[in-house]
């Protein structure tokens, strides 16, 4: 690592202040109640607050479903792309990057329109209940579909980086010549070597889903981010406390991920 000279210390310090001052302000705001001194009431209230647990659980469920679907969709697709049609890579890259270009507000407007006219068109078909089902408030699958699309750019990049680091073709061929059928080669050889990339993709998707507000709010669902927003109007301290808490939860997940990756490396280097 490069030595930290005074210049670098300066830049590090400034960056640290830029991040830490708002954070510290938030924390002080939640614990320092005028007239009562320091109190952690705001944090203890969170657990009993109306809608906290259901919205958090909904967000986590949506995140898990999104991660599972986006990985099931992208991993086989990207391995196949790498092995079978490397020339299509730029096309897929552009397609997967489109969600970054389309603003969520435009995206959700489109989805809302479809959800509105859909039932009319499908009413005479066996699928007429589909649009009802995907909007079930206890588990709005339509959000999972939306998040899968929104996660594509991140998942694509994470997996692409992972696939670049291993010689997928040779590994698959080696596995095949050892008697492994295609699915076995994928599960036993390719996936274990993409572990880091899979964890990265999962984490980025998790962060995306936990923080997503626009789509969920405009479609009228109440996952965690929407709940924080709705509570901030009435209970300012509580909502900031929740934000701080959600930041800590995100950090905890990040550390867990780093821990998992780190453990992988130590088992790999043990002789």
């Amino acid at each position: 690592m490069a030595r930290l000279n005074p210049w670098r210390w300066g830049v590090l310090g400034l960056a640290g202040l830029y991040f830490l001052i708002p954070l510290a302000a938030s924390v002080i705001f939640t614990v320092n109640v005028p007239g009562q001194g320091v109190t952690f009431d705001a944090y203890t209230e969170i657990l009993s607050a109306d809608g906290f647990l259901p919205s958090l659980r909904l967000s986590l469920e949506l995140a898990v479903a999104t991660i599972v679907i986006v990985l099931l969709l992208m991993v086989p697709a990207m391995v196949a792309l790498r092995l079978g049609a490397p020339r299509l890579r730029p096309v897929v890259e552009v397609v997967c990057s489109l969600p970054l270009v389309v603003p969520p507000i435009a995206y959700v407007a489109g989805i809302a329109t479809v959800l509105k006219w859909g039932p009319d068109y499908l009413s005479r078909t066996p699928l007429f209940m589909t649009f009802e089902a995907v909007q079930n408030p206890s588990f709005p699958f339509v959000l999972v579909l939306a998040y899968v699309v929104m996660a594509l750019p991140f998942v694509y990049r994470a997996l692409d980086a992972g696939l670049r680091a291993v010689d997928v073709r040779t590994l698959v061929e080696a596995a095949r010549s050892c008697g492994a059928a295609w699915p076995q080669a994928l599960v036993r050889v390719v996936l274990p070597n993409l572990r880091g990339a899979l964890l990265n993709a999962s984490f980025l998707t998790l962060a995306l889903v936990l923080g997503e507000f626009t789509v969920a709010q405009l479609l009228g669902f109440r996952p965690f981010a929407v709940w924080i927003y709705s509570i901030s109007g009435s209970q300012a301290q509580l909502s900031v406390a929740v934000s701080v808490l959600s930041l800590l939860v995100t950090w905890a997940l990040l550390l867990a991920l780093a821990g998992l990756g780190g453990r992988g490396r130590t088992t790999a280097t043990r002789g």
Binding site: D167, E173, R176, S177, G179, P192, A268
Partner: protein, 360 residues
């Protein structure tokens, strides 16, 4: 098949491999243009040729990674062209390091046995036995990134042998290694192959490797087989001009065919092999550098233009009166007085010569 048994290497029936009229094109390039080749049971056959000659494509077709546009691949007379690669019973060692990075050496070797659902204890025992065979008994728990290139290829070899394949395929397994390791691994592969008596195909672009290891060498050029013969024959009696010039070093000396003999450098020498059809023809005589005699001669009309010291021998490049360049190997002792610029005479030994059509 005895793929899952664990008795010490009982020598199994070695397989015959046949390529029949294999054709394959990738876009506009023709990788194989009607390849016919038979590998005898237990034979170590090297596929030698310049890059792009189709040798790797042929090997990959036997492994099942490529499919021919037409033609067939037969193992023991049985057409395996349509059999998927994981049921081909062919062990393969790749050019680049192909070990599974997430598994240690033992698990890498045991991978195939695991795919065949061999019980854990059995497959570990068998894998350990194989690592022993390639001299890496003490490296079982090392991961690929902790092994040197040579060790990795040894593990890859053990992995390829784990399922007791009927055919062993080696795709330039030594080309990524440094010279010393390459030499020792060369000998080791040959020893193992002879011990196990397994039919082996070895792809290489290194002629020295092919000549020193193989029972027979198949020289390929532009998707076709040029010649398949034992190393000594390939070197001494090349069937085509391409083989002559690809294997070893050959110089062309302009000559003239008259009455079935070659007039070259002022001498008449009999022709080895078929004589060109026409009675008189302008041809080239092909000569190996070690066959060319060079002597300092102030009246000689040839001149040495370069001398390269190779150790025991010195390679002289001589320009003949007509501008042709000929390479000649002289023992360093004899070449002592002959430096660049020396006037010399060039002689050929009194032996039949190989002729080829005059080039361009």
């Amino acid at each position: 098949m005895t793929a899952t048994t664990l008795e010490p290497a009982t020598r199994q029936e070695a397989a015959t491999v046949e390529f029949r009229e294999l054709r394959r094109r990738f876009g506009t390039t023709v990788a194989l243009d009607g390849l016919d080749l038979t590998v005898r049971p237990g034979e170590f056959l090297a596929l030698l040729g310049p890059s792009g000659c189709g040798k790797t494509t042929a090997l990959r077709m036997l492994a099942g990674f490529e499919h021919p546009d037409s033609g067939a691949v037969l193992v023991d007379g049985e057409d395996v062209t349509g059999v998927p690669s994981h049921r081909r019973d062919a062990g393969m060692v790749f050019q680049s390091y192909s070990l599974f990075p997430h598994l240690d050496a033992l698990d890498n070797v045991a991978f195939g046995l695991r795919m065949r659902k061999v019980r854990t204890a059995e497959r570990r025992a068998r894998a350990a036995e194989l690592l022993d065979l390639v001299g890496l008994a003490d490296k079982r728990e090392r991961f690929p990134h902790q092994l040197s290139g040579g060790q990795q290829q040894r593990v890859a070899l053990a992995r390829a042998l784990a399922l007791r394949p009927r055919v062993l395929l080696l795709d330039e397994p030594l080309s990524a290694l440094d010279a010393k390791v390459r030499l020792s691994l060369r000998e080791e592969i040959r020893r193992l192959q002879q011990e196990l008596g397994i039919t082996t195909l070895f792809v290489t672009h290194d002629q020295e490797e092919a000549l020193s290891m193989a029972d027979r060498v198949a020289v390929m050029h532009a998707g076709r087989l040029e010649q398949c013969a034992a190393p000594a024959e390939l070197y001494g009696r090349p069937a085509t001009a391409f083989v002559a010039e690809f294997v070893g070093t050959m110089s062309r000396v302009p000559a003239r065919i008259e009455d079935g003999t070659a007039h070259v450098l002022g001498r008449r020498l009999p022709v080895d092999g078929p004589v060109p059809a026409k009675d008189t023809a302008e041809v080239d005589v092909l000569v190996r550098p070690e066959a060319v005699g060079v002597a300092a001669d102030a009246d000689g009309d040839a001149r040495v233009i370069a001398a390269a010291f190779l150790g025991a021998a010195t390679r002289l490049t001589v320009r003949l009166a007509d501008g042709t360049e000929v390479k000649a190997d002289l023992s360093t002792h004899d070449a002592a007085g002959i430096g660049a610029g020396t006037a010399v005479t060039v002689t050929l030994p009194d032996r039949p010569v190989l002729v080829a059509e005059r080039k361009g």
